[in-house]
């Protein structure tokens, strides 16, 4: 099993969700986060006081998939989230040791 963590532009959230649904992935966790890579922030001015806002709003997807589906899912997320500009985000992949469904104690791939 692999865990995919994708940090994407907030306005791509619906596109990515839709694309994952189309390939039959229906379990995921989403959070609103802030961060930046190479993208520069923007300037805000309040009554003449300037602030450089460099931590920008992003959306983080977390989902766990069977090893066999990894490439397909990563490809789907990448395509749906890509605008081609700096700030599109990153995808990270981790090994997962175990998955447990709390309701009935199912384990392994059957639990995801």
């Amino acid at each position: 099993m692999k865990k995919i963590e994708a940090i994407i532009q907030p306005f791509k959230l619906e596109d990515v969700k839709e694309a994952l649904k189309n390939i039959g992935i229906d379990g995921m966790t989403i959070s609103e986060v802030r961060g930046h890579g190479r993208q520069k922030g923007h300037r805000e001015v309040y009554r003449g006081q300037e602030y450089n806002v460099d931590l920008l709003p992003k959306v983080k997807f977390e989902l766990v998939v069977a090893d066999t589906r990894l490439e397909e899912v990563v490809e789907t997320i990448g395509q749906a989230a890509r605008s081609g500009k700096i700030g599109d985000g990153k995808i990270f992949v981790y090994d997962v040791a175990e998955a447990i469904r709390i309701r009935n104690n199912d384990r392994g791939e059957g639990a995801i």
Partner: protein, 449 residues
């Protein structure tokens, strides 16, 4: 007809009885109209403090200080009300010396439904007293913008109590009380025009704000750390309530539902509109974008500046006063504040002190008896410079000088007393943690609940 049988003397008696009945019902109709408007105005002015100012200021601070900031405004609605009932109304509006009133109305003794003809002959004195109370509430609340995010609540409560007695009551008596030094209509020796509180409310609070900002010092981390407004949305809602409430503040200051009230209403609105445009235009030229915060700051600056002038000027001069206030306060807040480096958190001085001073002086220029024909010493007099009475500008300057003097000395003295008794500033950790938790033990937002 019945009259035929009564004879001449009886006819005269009948007519006189009918006339006096008619006079009575006319007076009662006027009183009903005036009282209705003044009760609404009193409610509108209270709405300016809560929720108007509470939202406007609350949105501009950081999230951890939103409740403490709102508490500063809200607590005035309770605390000043009691002080006003016990002593405040009497010290402002009963006769005394040119500088402070007496104790005739202490504990609202003798204040009932009968009008007080010195001030407003057609409304119950209770209405007049309540209306004036709302001004005493918002004035110290305005100061809180300067020391927001770092003053102890206990010190704030003591500060505002003493401030009401040492600064607000004397200044309000001097300008509005019978026999007050600056009261143009009721026996003052230096006739200064202040229709709705340019000197009494805005200069006293604005200048006191600057003294507080200097005395307390900068917030921890200012200006290196970002201290953006946590919710511009709250501030926009609050500022718009201030705009609407200001109709009660200025048009209500006619103390009747009269043509003068309409005049003040129109002047108020035009000044707010042109000042909002003036500020936004200035920042558009200066930094490339017009902002929402600039728009509402400008509107408030215009409302402040037109306050003393509102019952004395025509719509076009009102528009000009607003435009000038928008540009002037923008410059005060963006350039002057940064040059001197004081931390007037929410620009109480830059908007209320600066805008109030500009408005008080321009009242001396544009005031005209064509708008306000209230007789002075029994005669219709020319009012401002445009009316052919340029010396009025000097009288206005005298009123400004007194307000500044009283605010500087009074506020400094009170801060010293508060500092000695309880300390004015929150401990460093408490300031880091936020005043909501350190002063009140609660949080403004707990979204997981």
């Amino acid at each position: 007809m019945q009259i035929v049988h009564l004879g001449l003397p009886a006819i005269a008696a009948d007519i006189s009885a009918r006339l006096s009945a008619l006079e009575k019902s006319t007076a009662s109709a006027q009183s009903a109209g005036d009282n209705a408007w003044m009760l609404v105005s009193a409610a509108l002015v209270l709405m300016m403090t809560g929720p108007g100012l509470a939202l406007f200021y609350g949105g501009l601070v950081r999230r951890k200080n939103v409740l403490a900031t709102m508490m500063n405004s809200f607590s005035m609605m309770a605390l000043i009300t009691l002080i006003w009932a016990f002593f405040g109304y009497s010290l402002v509006f009963s006769e005394g010396t040119p500088f402070i009133g007496g104790l005739k109305y202490a504990f609202l003794n003798g204040v009932g439904v009968a009008p007080n003809p010195d001030y407003a002959a057609t409304i119950p004195q209770l209405t007049f007293m309540s209306y004036q109370l709302m001004f005493a509430i918002i004035t110290p609340a305005l100061i809180s913008g300067a020391f927001a995010e770092r003053m102890k609540f206990s010190a704030f409560a003591l500060f505002t109590t003493l401030w009401a007695f040492l600064v607000y009551f004397p200044m309000a008596h001097m300008v509005w009380g019978k026999g007050g030094l600056f009261n143009a209509y009721l026996g003052g020796s230096v006739p200064c025009f202040d229709f709705a509180g340019g000197t009494v409310v805005h200069i006293t609070s604005g200048v006191s704000a600057l003294v507080c900002a200097l005395y307390l010092g900068k917030r921890v981390g200012f200006p290196a750390e970002p201290m953006r407004p946590h919710s511009m949305v709250l501030s926009v809602v609050g500022a718009c309530m201030l705009w609407v409430g200001w109709f009660g503040f200025n048009a209500g200051s006619a103390l009747s539902a009269s043509g003068l009230a309409s005049s003040a209403f129109a002047a108020t609105h035009f000044a707010a509109a042109s000042a909002a445009l003036g500020w936004m235009a200035a920042e558009w030229l200066h930094s490339g974008k017009p902002t929402m915060l600039g728009g509402i700051s400008g509107a408030v600056a215009g409302l402040v500046a037109i306050t003393p002038a509102s019952g004395f000027v025509k719509p076009m001069p009102a528009l000009l006063i607003g435009l000038l206030a928008g540009g002037f306060c923008f410059w005060m807040v963006t350039a002057v504040k940064h040059k001197f480096g004081y931390d007037d958190t929410l620009d109480a001085f830059g908007v209320h002190g600066a805008g109030g001073t500009l408005g008080a002086l321009l009242t001396g220029v544009f005031a005209t008896s064509a708008v306000n024909d209230t007789p002075i010493g029994g005669k219709l007099m020319p009012l401002g410079a445009m009316d052919g009475h340029p010396i009025q500008i000097l009288y206005q300057a005298a009123g400004v000088a007194m307000a500044v003097l009283l605010a500087v000395i009074g506020t400094f003295l009170i801060l010293k007393i508060c500092d000695a008794l309880i300390g004015v500033r929150v401990e460093r950790e408490g300031e880091r943690e936020g005043l909501d938790l350190s002063q009140h033990g609660e949080e403004g937002y707990y979204l997981e609940a």
